[in-house]
């Protein structure tokens, strides 16, 4: 964090705090409200650790982080989209398509079901670039449709979700692609004890943070979500920014696809169904508002971790998968209720 941005953040907090202190004078309550989701995460970790000490085992912690990284990366793009008052339902399908194309270009030469039989072993950069290109292009198409035809983001990305899945199935005639090169598998592996997916996630979170807080693109995203008409009149190139925004979200889905393929070692054309909803859930738990103009990268990361800790912890505790889903749904709703109270205009 640069000095100036620290100053901004500090002053912002000070101002907010001062106002709230005046408002009700109860400091603890203020902090609970403001950092509620962090407290919830800590509480969750403490609770699960007491019930099952194995949770705090470093191997398990890294497991949680690795598991969180795939939808966590998707949630980064999704958070920016929701800040702009949009939605992207297609990221699960984009992940599958980008992932399966990457996998088809990243098989070992001796693979039994070689997708391109005459293709030798490609350096890992080839599947990576292919996946990123697919993500950016499909996302860009989403953004283009939304920006230039004016159809709602929900509809545009619903269409893309269905089409991209169809293309994925067509690409391999419904078959999975397996036996990836060791270099590719490394992307889902470890450096020493540290899982590579976690490093990639951290890097992506950092990039997204800078993008959102330190570039005009980021300011424009907030402005578009805050009041799209005012943004236009203020000279924001709304169309161009929407195009970049959705392309970025597609790109993040592609990064998630690479991590996914590297970790699993294969990609099935039916992979990542419903991941878009998990990404939306992580964003929303992290305090991103569907009203637009509100949300942070830090929130998105914490939201993803809440889901990761919850899933891992409940599994460790031997809780039925059905219960896990019920609890997850409940947490999404409660998180939004708390957030709405926090964001409601104080009169």
């Amino acid at each position: 964090m640069s000095d100036s941005s620290k100053k901004i953040a500090n002053e912002a907090e000070k101002a907010e705090d001062l106002k709230q202190q005046k408002a009700n004078g109860n400091k603890l309550l203020i902090y609970l409200k403001k950092y509620g989701i962090i407290f919830a995460l800590i509480l969750l970790i403490v609770g699960i650790s007491i019930a099952e000490p194995k949770f705090l085992n470093p191997t398990n912690i890294f497991n949680v982080l690795t598991q969180s990284s795939i939808y966590g990366i998707m949630a980064l793009g999704m958070t920016l989209i929701i800040i702009s008052k949009g939605i992207d339902l297609s990221v699960g399908s984009i992940l599958a398509f980008a992932g399966i194309v990457a996998a088809s270009l990243g098989q070992v030469s001796t693979a039994t079901n070689k997708f391109f039989p005459n293709l030798g072993e490609m350096p890992v950069i080839v599947p990576i670039l292919a996946a990123l290109a697919i993500g950016a292009i499909l996302g860009g198409i989403n953004g283009g449709l939304i920006a230039y035809t004016g159809i709602p983001a929900f509809i545009a990305t619903l269409g893309m979700m269905t089409m991209a899945r169809g293309v994925t199935l067509m690409y391999t005639s419904g078959k999975p692609v397996t036996q990836l090169t060791p270099d590719f598998m490394f992307l889902g592996g470890k450096i020493g004890v540290i899982p590579v997916p976690v490093l990639i996630y951290a890097l992506m979170a950092g990039i997204t943070w800078v993008l959102l807080n330190h570039t005009s693109f980021g300011k424009n995203v907030y402005a578009i979500g805050g009041n799209i008409k005012a943004a236009e009149i203020s000279g924001v190139n709304v169309k161009k920014n929407l195009l970049i925004l959705y392309a970025f979200c597609g790109l993040m889905a592609a990064v998630a696809a690479i991590v996914f393929a590297g970790r699993v070692g294969s990609v099935h054309p039916g992979a990542a169904v419903g991941y878009e909803l998990t990404a939306i859930a992580a964003s929303v738990i992290g305090g991103t508002s569907f009203d637009g103009g509100i949300g942070t990268v830090g929130g998105a990361v914490i939201g993803a971790l809440v889901l990761g800790v919850l899933r891992n912890g409940l599994t460790l505790l031997g809780v039925q998968a059905y219960w896990q889903q019920i609890l997850e749904g409940l947490i999404i709703i409660v998180a939004v209720i708390i957030d709405m109270r926090k964001n409601s205009k104080k009169k």
Partner: protein, 508 residues
């Protein structure tokens, strides 16, 4: 039944919001069949008091009597049933449903089978509309009505509830002169029918025209209440702001330079205006007057690239330029303060800081592509001080600021872009007297710096007080461009604005 002197009696009303004392022991007595005006600057407590009355915000302490009975623990729908109705400043009808469905929303007449009785609803609506002499088809959709008609439908709705007191919050702010006359007619008729009206307004001339009694608030306190004859404009303003506002329009004559912007034969694609030509010089304030619907806003929006032009030429500094989007306009050093702050001005959920820098991000991009926050902070802080934006911090959400301060944030946004042509559409609408004078001072100071200013305003005193020249429009055409003079009368401008000046051709 014992005869009551007052229909509404509010005694020693105290209202605390977290951190703010909005009302500090206020009394209000409204008699039967009386039009009672509430005046005061924004934040004086008028609207809060009314929200207490309609049960929206229960008072922290104090008593409310209605027809002699003390009211306790009631909500807005209870108030409505008792006969207390409020017509809010910002109307929110169900746009894509009909007039009748809007009026009877939630209490639709039913047939004996429990279905909605549309015929009965239609007849009942006709009847209600007749009481205010409004001749519209009850089946018309709300979305097709003008703001004035929408407001009258709201009044009809209040009548349909048998309202005994109707509160109107700034009802004339978006109406034309003609519509205001019509509204006042309805108000007088309601009064004759024995209903009481509470009327909140910033427009002092209207207050003197329509009201019987005036109550003045300042800082949540009652400053004075009496028959209107006991007040005059100067004394009223003094009571409202707590000081003498000697200069409402502090226009300073400044040196007028060469032609900055010249528009010839401008027409838009929607046919909202036709063949509009005018020019603005450096250091000049050009006022644009006209009735609502005359096409004033459309002209400047086309000029700024928000609307598409069909034909016409725009020249800046003698060079023809093509503006197809606000981006182009901003590149050509133009700035537009829009008419509707909330709709297309502010970003409510964002901070004062973000709201201010948004039109000028371009100039804060460093060589490495990131934003120069230090410089942006410095600039924003400079303007917050320079034009006296009252905010606890520049990181306050702009929605928590008062209307006048929100408007100043928007002014700061545009000043940051260092514009040479400033277009201001209703720059002081809905702003209290004190802030208004400050904005006027700012405008004249900017002209003094050699900036060219185009100011659209529906308030004739403002146009006449601030402009060097006045362009008047009527039904999409320029009917006159006249030099401002001391002896110019409102009537003269109105002749042009109503299109009754065929003899007077435009004098350039």
């Amino acid at each position: 039944m014992e005869e009551q002197k007052y229909l509404v009696e509010m005694k020693n009303i105290l209202k605390n919001f977290p951190g703010v004392q909005a009302l500090r022991g206020v009394d209000l007595n409204v008699g039967y069949g009386e039009i009672h005006a509430l005046v005061g600057e924004n934040g004086a407590g008028k609207s809060t008091l009314m929200k207490c009355l309609i049960g929206m915000h229960p008072p922290t302490s104090g008593q409310i009597f209605f027809e002699g009975n003390e009211l306790n623990n009631y909500n807005t729908s209870d108030a409505l049933k008792m006969g207390i109705a409020m017509i809010h400043q910002e109307l929110s009808p169900v746009l894509h449903r009909s007039i009748m469905e809007n009026i009877w929303l939630g209490r639709e007449p039913k047939t004996k089978f429990g279905f909605v009785d549309h015929q009965k609803m239609y007849d009942m609506t006709k009847e209600v509309l007749k009481t205010i002499n409004l001749d519209v088809d009850p089946k018309m959709l709300m979305v097709d009505l003008t703001i004035a008609k929408t407001q009258m439908i709201e009044i009809a709705k209040a009548i349909s509830y048998n309202a005994k007191v109707i509160i109107m919050d700034e009802p004339t702010s978006a109406l034309t002169k003609k519509e205001i006359v019509q509204l006042f007619g309805i108000m007088r008729q309601l009064k004759a029918d024995g209903k009481s009206l509470i009327y909140i307004s910033h427009k002092l001339d209207e207050i003197f025209e329509i009201s019987d009694k005036i109550t003045v608030f300042r800082d949540g306190k009652l400053i004075g209440t009496d028959n209107k004859e006991k007040f005059d404009v100067q004394s009223l303003i003094k009571m409202m702001v707590g000081r003498d506002v000697t200069e409402m329009f502090p226009k300073i004559d400044c040196e007028i330079g060469e032609i900055k912007l010249a528009v010839t034969g401008l027409s838009d694609t929607g046919g909202r205006f036709n063949d509009v030509s005018f020019n603005v010089r450096k250091g000049e304030i050009l006022g644009i007057a006209g009735l609502v619907g005359a096409g004033r806003t459309e002209v400047i929006e086309t000029l700024f690239g928000i609307r598409r032009k069909m034909s016409g030429q725009v020249m800046i500094d003698g060079k023809e330029i093509d503006i197809e989007s606000p981006m182009d306009a901003i590149k050509n050093k133009m700035a537009l303060l829009t008419e509707d702050r909330r709709l297309d001005g502010i970003f409510p959920s964002l901070t004062v800081f973000q709201n201010t820098i948004i039109a000028n991000l371009r100039s804060y991009i460093k060589k490495n592509g990131l934003l120069d926050n230090t410089k942006a902070l410095k600039d924003v802080n400079h303007y917050v001080e320079a034009i006296k934006i009252k905010t606890p911090s520049i990181f306050q959400r702009v929605e928590n600021l008062s209307g006048g301060n929100q408007q100043k944030v928007l002014v700061a946004r545009w000043l940051l872009t260092e514009p040479e042509i400033l277009i201001l559409d209703e720059p002081t609408r809905g702003i209290d007297v004190g802030a208004k004078a400050e904005i006027h001072r700012l405008i004249t100071a900017l002209a003094g710096q050699g900036k060219s200013i185009i100011m659209v305003s529906s308030e004739l005193p403002e146009v006449m007080g601030m402009s060097d020249r006045i362009m008047i429009m009527h039904e999409g055409k320029v009917t006159g461009i006249i030099d401002n003079r001391k002896d110019l009368s409102q009537e003269e401008i109105m002749t042009f604005a109503t299109g009754n000046s065929s003899a007077n051709q435009a004098k350039m």
